[in-house]
Symmetry: C2
Subunit: 209 residues, 2 copies
């Protein structure tokens, strides 16, 4: 069984990361979503174990102590982290594991999983970013403004990413994301063993007479 790729998706708030990942999960059967643990409160409609594992601060700190997280970080006063066992199980099953986190967490992942694919999603412009954040309608204007200010710094470190996708059309962007994840299965590191086998066999082969 070919092992799956670990795919880390980051991007500006309001870039459409959630929709993209839902599209992949509903259109194709090669994906598994990494469910994060968090201490923040559920938004309307969010379900425990699906959107996030919602934890108390005490529960989360126990997970930290027991080394059950690939990475974790504090963001706007709340803990967010990636449970380790789930990710490794799905990769072994051949699933491409989708993991949505901000850049600092992503860079920690990359150190532990050097073959992880890092993808940053951006709207085509700052104005588009602003109108999407307002359009969502679930946040107060203060929070929207706070996020816009934060956006200036939330792309710091993006130079270390493998790909930047511009989400100006959700269907086009979904297909691009799918294609580059599938392409990652043919990165040289994944197939060097086949070249080695061919070299060995060529030394053994009975040449035509």
């Amino acid at each position: 069984m070919e092992k799956g790729s670990l795919v880390v998706v980051s991007g500006f708030s309001g870039a459409g990361k959630g929709t993209l990942m839902n599209n992949l999960l509903s259109k194709y059967n090669n994906y598994a979503l990494s469910v994060s643990a968090t201490t923040r409160s559920p938004r309307p409609g969010e379900k425990d174990g699906v959107s996030y594992f919602f934890k108390t601060v005490e529960e989360f700190e126990t997970m930290i102590d027991q080394d059950e997280l690939v990475e974790y970080a504090k963001y706007v006063g709340n803990y967010y982290g990636t449970p380790k066992a789930f990710v490794e199980k799905k990769l072994q099953e051949g699933k491409d594991v989708l993991l949505e986190i901000e850049i600092q967490g992503a860079l920690k992942i990359k150190k532990k999983f050097p073959d992880a694919l890092l993808i940053f999603i951006t709207p085509p412009s700052a104005e588009e970013l602003r109108s999407r954040l307002v359009g969502r309608g679930t946040e107060t204007l203060d929070v929207v403004n706070q996020r816009l200010t934060r956006a200036i710094t939330e792309s710091e470190g993006v130079e270390a990413y493998d790909y930047i996708l511009i989400n100006d059309d959700i269907d086009t962007c979904t297909e691009k994301l799918h294609n580059l994840i599938r392409a990652s299965h043919d990165r040289a590191c994944a197939h060097l063993n086949i070249i080695e086998i061919i070299r060995k066999d060529l030394r053994r082969i009975e040449y035509v007479k």
Copy 2:
């Protein structure tokens, strides 16, 4: 106009590189083939200016002297080289330029064009490689044996490549090749300017009141 990608295709003799590249050229309109210059004799059916620019040794050495080649090498007693002007013109026109050369030439290209995409094509097995070389029927058995022996070394340096494609089905392999070339247009290095523009605009934007 978005600049094209420089795509270097290498692989074992008999791996099917030529067919793959012809498929891309006939199915899609984003490709241009880099035509190499060589001093070897034309095979039946090969046309000057299409398959290769066929040159005398004297002509080729003049091109070397006048720095008109991106790279050149001697292989089985003949010169092979990549005329520079053609490649740069097509990249500027937005074409993805396909360039078929062996690994040592490819590594020279990578030094001059760090964003070049290096792709190695391999048959699924050594036995398959042998039967394809025999099947072509245009070479003497001595030449086939010489190539099989050479194949052992002709994958040396493949670790520096971006992708290794296993050509066990020509249509599947063509699609994979096309997809990963299209994906290369979204590599982070290609879009860092957009992130920079968004950051600047966010500092200027009039936030919602």
